[in-house]
């Protein structure tokens, strides 16, 4: 068994053996030995060295299993070095005998204890706190804190019975013993309904609120600290222990509290606990929020850190978290996840998120405020929480944090801004109808926020907000009515508010209502006359943008009017002019007039560059839009520069993972694919998918498209397995969304899956999939659409590679008949198809025709700016075979390639 002693190797030898060993390990396990014997048959010394190493593989693994035990043993010893945590079961402390160890943790060990002084029988929980200093000051503080704790008299807070110091000087506390289970186990075991969970939670809030009013903060509220007894009553354990711990902590054995590293449970820590900020009532409110989240969703809120434990911003709404859970999750309170999400969406989301705000100032001020709002909810009354106040949003903006990480709140934010401005304006106007003052107000921060973020229509945001919080959408009508009533004497403010409401109606999907409101505000701007050209022009151009997709003539009228106002704006209201130009640029882009679109974008950029403090959101939009236009124009290098710049400033201003980076990422990925850099395309594509996964729903078109494009990039990068897995996922989602009838999107995704299957050689499945795609396209695409050609082309490839040359010929000819009328003779895809047709003809024995087809086609492929290396390669092969000396065995033989050796 034991190998002979190895002679020491020189360093060079070692490197050589190591390299060979690495290579051997790269082989499949069963084949390794054979592989080594074959590969180094000529070098027996190397061969034997490698075989020897391979033979030690299992022993190395076993050795490390033992090493792990040694590691843990040393760790255990480190524990034993810390006094106060030695298992003390059976021993006596004060009047108490320790019966069993209940729990242990960084905050000490808890024992079940029986009274042992002959007085009377009593069961209690005895907790020994580790790591205390023994100086008199600490002891005094400890005594003071204990005094305060003993003042807590509440049915749901275990009473403090006793306390003192153990023989070796460690403080202990004795409290009532609660025979119960952690609250999370309790609700799961009894499958409490959401309503019952809320009632239980309210009980907990009341206990916390009681303690707060005694001046005691818990600091470590978490499920394991809340036990529910047999009567279903929750009890909150360990009140004030964290503080107590901190008060008496020795700087030697505890993480230094002076630097903010207070004892805590990281998974349940509030942001200020994590960052060493001031910890108070707000911190308990946050932890109650975490508990509420857990009770409502059945799982812990994902800490705002990513897989690598790097913190990221934003909190997921409970309703979204529920939907993200795996489909085989148990039902919660008798409801499937979708049912739970429906209940949570809206008010409960809002309440939980308000408790979970990063900034303590933005949370509920007290536990009581939180429970009061929940009681409002349970009573069917309006809740007080608003997702985020205008001021905190402004603050966050000022700090340039990611704006509105949770866009569900965006709408209500607008409403709040709107309400704030409304009352503010009304009051202000009441007091002094002074034009200058009004201008000052209008130029104020609230308006800037409003204009910057929400006034400019933003399809990305609309997508993310769309369809959510139905109850809030319903209130838009009432808001409009109030605005008209209170502001009929101030057309200027009314017009601006109507514009805002129109944006909101747009988000809500009421496009017609939105346009009607804009038309009304346009009339107001017109009546106001000089000074309002900018507002009017932006209104017109935005309306033109939304109208152009359905009523081109009407859109053109609006556009011309906006354009007529432009010359004046350029000089006096450059920001408005830039806004108008951006709208015009989008109209031009959608029309396919990319030169014009680029020109508008460039002019907008030039205007903004001339300004000291141009809104960065506009600048980003212009940079991004110009890049996009350049991509469409095929000016890829210039496009890359613009898009990279847009991406960088989006990251700077909105934050790294913000939804808005998706536009630049998508464009960059697309561009790199076009430039023949599949690795770079994959890089951007993967980030895009990650961003979309975080911000858009699993079923969103955006995520589907992003995955689809990433799959294509994988394919191009030679990562077929990943491409196919992703493509299958996309098809499955698309099929589910499309229903039994299928749709156009499904057709496209099927076609892409077919291409990928063809690439991996799964020709039979590829054929089945592409035929389904072709049939769907015939149903859902207009006749003559060049997209119809794509499944035919893929079918041709599949048939060709399956040896069905005649079927391939038909498919390629059909491809050309669909393609040529739409894109012309010189399109690279036409050339590619011709070359494959040539290959089919060659195999059919029509070498002459094949050569005539292939020669110009290859030139066309090589001359195109977009690179198709795979196709080019195959076309070159066709040419080479056509130009090779005539094979006397005849071309017919090639048809039987598959059966010949």
């Amino acid at each position: 068994m034991a190998p002979e002693r190895k002679t020491p190797l020189s360093r060079d030898d070692w490197a050589r053996v190591d390299a060979a060993f690495s290579q051997a390990l790269d082989q499949d396990e069963e084949l390794r030995e054979t592989w080594v014997r074959n590969t180094w048959a000529d070098d027996p010394a190397l061969r034997d060295a490698v075989l020897d190493l391979l033979a030690d593989e299992a022993r190395g693994a076993r050795f490390f299993e033992a090493a792990l035990k040694a590691r843990d043993a040393v760790a255990a010893e480190a524990v034993a070095d810390e006094p106060g945590s030695v298992d003390l079961v059976g021993s006596r402390i004060g009047a108490w005998r320790l019966a069993s160890l209940i729990a242990t943790g960084g905050m000490g060990a808890v024992y079940r204890a029986e009274r042992d002084d002959g007085e009377y029988r009593q069961t209690a929980a005895l907790k020994i706190l580790p790591g205390w200093a023994t100086d008199s000051q600490s002891i005094a503080r400890l005594r003071a804190e204990r005094q305060i704790l003993s003042s807590l008299q509440h049915p749901q807070i275990p009473r403090l019975l006793d306390g003192g110091r153990t023989g070796d000087g460690f403080p202990y506390l004795v409290t009532e013993f609660i025979d119960g289970v952690p609250v999370t186990d309790f609700v799961a075991r009894n499958d409490l309904s959401l309503h019952e969970r809320l009632v239980l939670f309210l009980d907990i809030c009341d206990a916390v609120d009681y303690a707060h009013r005694q001046g005691i903060v818990h600091r470590d509220i978490k499920p394991s600290n809340i036990l529910v007894d047999r009567d279903g009553r929750p009890h909150l354990l360990d009140f004030g222990i964290a503080k107590l711990h901190e008060a008496g902590a020795s700087p030697v054995t505890m993480p230094r509290t002076a630097t903010g590293f207070a004892p805590m449970t990281p998974e349940y820590a509030s942001p200020e606990q994590r960052t060493g900020g001031e910890v108070g009532v707000a911190s308990d409110v946050y932890q109650l929020g975490l508990l509420l989240f857990r009770l409502l969703t059945g799982e812990r809120m994902a800490l705002p850190v990513d897989a690598g434990a790097r913190p990221v911003g934003g909190v997921t709404r409970p309703s979204t978290a529920v939907l993200r859970q795996s489909p085989d999750r148990r039902r919660l309170g008798g409801l499937p996840p979708s049912g739970v999400a429906r209940v949570l969406r809206g008010d409960l989301d809002t309440i939980a998120l308000k408790a979970l705000r990063d900034d303590p100032i933005d949370r509920y001020r007290t536990a009581r405020a939180l429970s009061r709002d929940l009681r409002h909810y349970l009573a069917g009354e309006a809740i007080e929480a608003r997702p985020e106040s205008a001021w905190s949003l402004t603050r966050r903006l000022a700090r340039r944090h990611p704006v509105a990480a949770s866009l569900a709140g965006a709408l209500v934010v607008v409403l709040v801004i709107w309400a704030v401005s409304l009352s503010f304006y009304a009051r202000e106007l009441e007091r002094q109808r002074d034009e200058a003052a009004r201008q000052a107000v209008r130029a104020g921060e609230v308006r800037d926020v409003l204009v910057d973020i929400f006034r400019r229509s933003d399809p990305l945001q609309a997508d993310a907000v769309g369809g959510k919080a139905a109850s809030v959408w319903a209130s838009l009508g009432a808001a409009e009515e109030a605005a008209r009533e209170r502001l009929d004497e101030d057309p200027e403010v009314l017009a601006e508010l109507l514009d805002t409401l129109s944006t909101l109606q747009g988000y809500a999907g009421n496009r017609a209502r939105s346009l009607a409101l804009m038309e009304e505000s346009a009339a107001l701007y017109r009546a106001l006359g000089p000074g309002f050209e900018g507002a009017l022009a932006e209104n017109l151009s935005e309306r033109a943008k939304w109208t152009s997709s359905r009523d081109l003539a009407a859109a053109e009228v609006l556009q011309r009017e906006a354009e007529a106002l432009l010359p004046g704006l350029r000089a006096h209201q450059p920001v408005a002019a830039a806004g108008v130009l951006l709208d015009l640029a989008i109209i031009a882009y959608d029309r396919g007039d990319w030169e014009q679109s680029l020109a508008h974008h460039d002019e907008a950029l030039a205007l903004l560059d001339g300004l000291q403090d141009a809104p960065w959101s506009l600048r980003i939009e212009a940079t991004f839009g110009s890049g996009n236009a350049l991509v469409s124009l095929g000016r890829l290098d210039e496009a890359e520069a613009r898009l990279s710049k847009a991406l960088a400033s989006t990251r700077t201003h909105f934050g790294d993972g913000h939804y808005r980076v998706s536009g630049s990422l998508a464009a960059l990925s697309h561009l790199e694919r076009g430039r023949g850099n599949p690795q770079a395309a994959v890089h951007w594509g993967e980030e895009l998918v990650a961003v979309m996964e975080r911000h858009a729903g699993e079923d969103s078109e955006g995520l589907l498209a992003a995955r689809n494009n990433l799959a294509i990039a994988y394919d191009a990068a030679g990562r077929q397995a990943e491409a196919q897995a992703m493509q299958r996922q996309v098809v499955a989602t698309s099929r589910r969304l499309a229903g039994p009838e299928g749709n156009r999107a499904l057709a496209v995704h099927l076609k892409n899956l077919a291409s990928s299957l063809h690439g991996s050689g799964d020709l039979e499945e590829a054929r089945r999939v592409v035929l389904e795609s072709r049939d769907l396209m015939e149903t859902y695409l207009p006749p003559g659409s060049p997209v119809q050609a794509t499944p035919w082309f893929t079918l041709g490839l599949v048939e060709l590679d399956s040896g069905r040359v005649d079927a391939a010929e038909v498919a390629f000819r059909t491809t050309l008949s669909l393609l040529e009328p739409a894109v012309g003779q010189e399109h690279v895809q036409v050339h590619v198809t011709r070359c494959f047709l040539a290959e089919a003809r060659r195999r059919q024995g029509h070498g002459g025709e094949a050569l005539t087809l292939a020669q110009p086609a290859l030139a066309g492929i090589q001359g195109a700016q977009r690179r198709y290396p795979g196709y080019e390669e195959r076309c070159r092969e066709t040419m080479a075979r056509l130009q090779a000396p005539v094979d006397l065995t005849g071309s017919g033989a090639e048809r039987e390639d598959a059966s010949s050796p």
């Binding site: 022993r59 792990l68 524990v79 034993a80």
Partner: protein, 190 residues
């Protein structure tokens, strides 16, 4: 054993050089070690020490105080440094125990219990640490891998991520490292 001579393995700090290279102040490094100790305190015999959780906790706490450590590759650096701290703490403890056994220390706690019933060879953590230093001279990457995977207890995929290597390569290298270290420490086979 290989023919390499080994000079005074205990004198050098395996991590401090790297910590400086990463721009960590000695203070941060000290805090890191302190958190690790705090975490160790919660360990009980029979419960596996969750080194991964430790490293994550340390990351959460320290990156909040040291924003420069946040994000991207810095996060990976952090994991690497935290792992080196784990190694140092464990090896220091092992050394201390060795010293105590020689009668040099005042501690009376022994850990026979934890070792009773453990199967296979009893591994000397100090010897393993020394062998790892020797291996580092031939292949520093293998050393980093072992520190992450073994001393910090990161999963295979986390280790791969921190090292910036594909998972398959990392798995292969883990096998290499185990075989070499095993051979160094058990030259006659187990």
């Amino acid at each position: 054993m290989t023919g390499d001579s080994e000079t005074n393995p205990g004198s050098e700090n395996p991590a401090s050089g790297d910590a400086h290279a990463l721009g960590l102040t000695p203070g941060v490094y000290a805090q890191l070690k302190q958190i690790a100790r705090g975490r160790l305190r919660s360990y009980r015999p029979g419960i596996t020490l969750d080194c991964t959780a430790l490293v994550h906790e340390a990351y959460l706490k320290i990156s909040a105080a040291e924003p420069a450590l946040k994000g991207g590759s810095q996060g990976d650096h952090f994991m690497a440094v935290a792992s080196m701290a784990m190694r140092q703490i464990l090896v220091d403890h092992a050394r201390k125990r060795q010293a105590d056994k020689r009668g040099g220390g005042a501690l009376h706690v022994t850990l026979q219990e934890a070792q009773v019933g453990s199967e296979g060879p009893v591994v000397d953590l100090i010897a393993l640490d020394d062998a790892l230093r020797r291996l580092a001279r031939r292949d520093p990457l293998l050393e980093r891998l072992v520190v992450l995977r073994f001393f910090a207890g990161l999963s295979m995929s986390q280790t791969a991520e921190v090292l910036g290597k594909p998972l398959r390569t990392t798995e292969r290298d883990w096998t290499r490292a185990r075989v070499y270290l095993f051979r160094d420490l058990e030259p006659n086979g187990a």
